[in-house]
């Protein structure tokens, strides 16, 4: 992105969010002398922030493209002229990700906090209570031998449960663009351990 440096990203990196991150940096670097850079980037950053927060509207991508053209053609210096590059190159190769954010309010990389939800798969949860102990907001419902659930109202999407869920279970998943499945009925939540039955 400008310096010839290379950044390696995988499918967990959200492209509109990468563009937003670079625009945020460039907005801070702008000297503010010419309009296409100072004002154009102010608006581009606003639009990209809205898109990553699920507030993107139909037509936002096209407006971003217009602003990008204005900056490329009319900005005074090389910083302004190249400022839309992070947006344009991510759009060129990952237009589908932008459209998923705007139209479906879905983040395909499962990275934009406002667009994802954490969910515990009841079929995989072993009620080990690890996530419940680590959750900073006490959003995990359940306990010993009770399949855990996440209280979406309390959840701050910090991702702690996702990280601490033991790899042998992998019960915590991230979902985006679809509603969180309804909780299990009370009576189905108890896990009966085979070893205890004997």
């Amino acid at each position: 992105m400008g310096s010839g440096g290379m950044i390696v990203m995988d499918e967990d990196t959200c492209m509109p969010d990468v563009a937003r991150y670079f625009l945020d940096f460039l907005t801070d670097e702008s000297c503010g002398k010419c309009v296409p850079c100072r004002e154009g980037m102010r608006q581009m950053l606003k639009l990209l922030t809205n898109i990553t927060q699920g507030k993107g509207k139909e037509g936002d991508i096209e407006l971003l493209e217009e602003l990008a053209e204005t900056a490329q053609e009319a900005a005074l210096c090389a910083l302004g002229k190249s400022s839309p590059n992070p947006f344009l190159s991510t759009l060129k190769y990952f237009r589908d990700e932008y459209e998923a954010h705007v139209k479906e309010k879905r983040c395909p990389a499962l990275s934009c906090k406002e667009l994802i939800a954490y969910y515990i798969d009841p079929a995989k949860c072993n009620a080990c209570t690890t996530c419940g102990k680590k959750c900073p907001t006490g959003a995990i419902i359940g306990g010993k031998n009770l399949i855990h659930m996440i209280d979406q109202e309390k959840c701050t999407k910090c991702g702690t449960c996702f990280e601490v869920c033991p790899p042998k279970f992998r019960a915590v998943t991230k979902i985006s663009g679809v509603p969180v499945p309804p909780p299990l009925p009370e009576e189905a939540r108890t896990i009966v351990r085979e070893s205890k039955q004997k």
Partner: protein
Amino acid sequence: MSDITFTIDGREVSATPGMTVLEAARAAGITIPTLCHHEKLEPYGGCRLCIVELEARGSTRLVVSCVYPVEKNLVVKTRSEKVDRIRKMILQLLLAHAPDAFDLQDLARQYGADRDRFEKEPSFCVHCGLCVRYCNEVKKKNAIGFVDRGIRKEISFIPQIAAKECWSCKECFPLCPTEALQAAYVLAKALAFPGDGAKG
């Protein structure tokens, strides 16, 4: 040094070396819209409204006419689809800050710019730098300057200088393309609250 001849919008125009395309166009009675240009001041190239299309040595490109020196055999087009599109976008960006400025409204009508395209953040200042440069270049007082950069850039009077110089001058007020009172407001604020730091 002989005159340079070139064409603007198909018209033969002559200019003396060292003139800018904008100056040559104005001398020939051709209008190019500007916000940050002033005859007494050095070219600034900040508003980018005076962008024109240029054909030289077989290729077309966009340049800002207020800082582009005239060359022999240039072919300048002051209007084209692309130029109009860029001017329209620039106007829309500025109208978010100064939606009621007469100069901007006139140009907006001409280029079909929508004043509501972007969310309003009325700050009135469009950072044309006329007041700042006039005070520096013509009056040589430097009573007003820019503070901060990028999207946080603002004009600000320096209270220590402004208290001595400004009341008898006020020549920057009518220069403001958005609202003459804007400079008055910033000046009054700087004098009333000198302890408010550089932000005035």
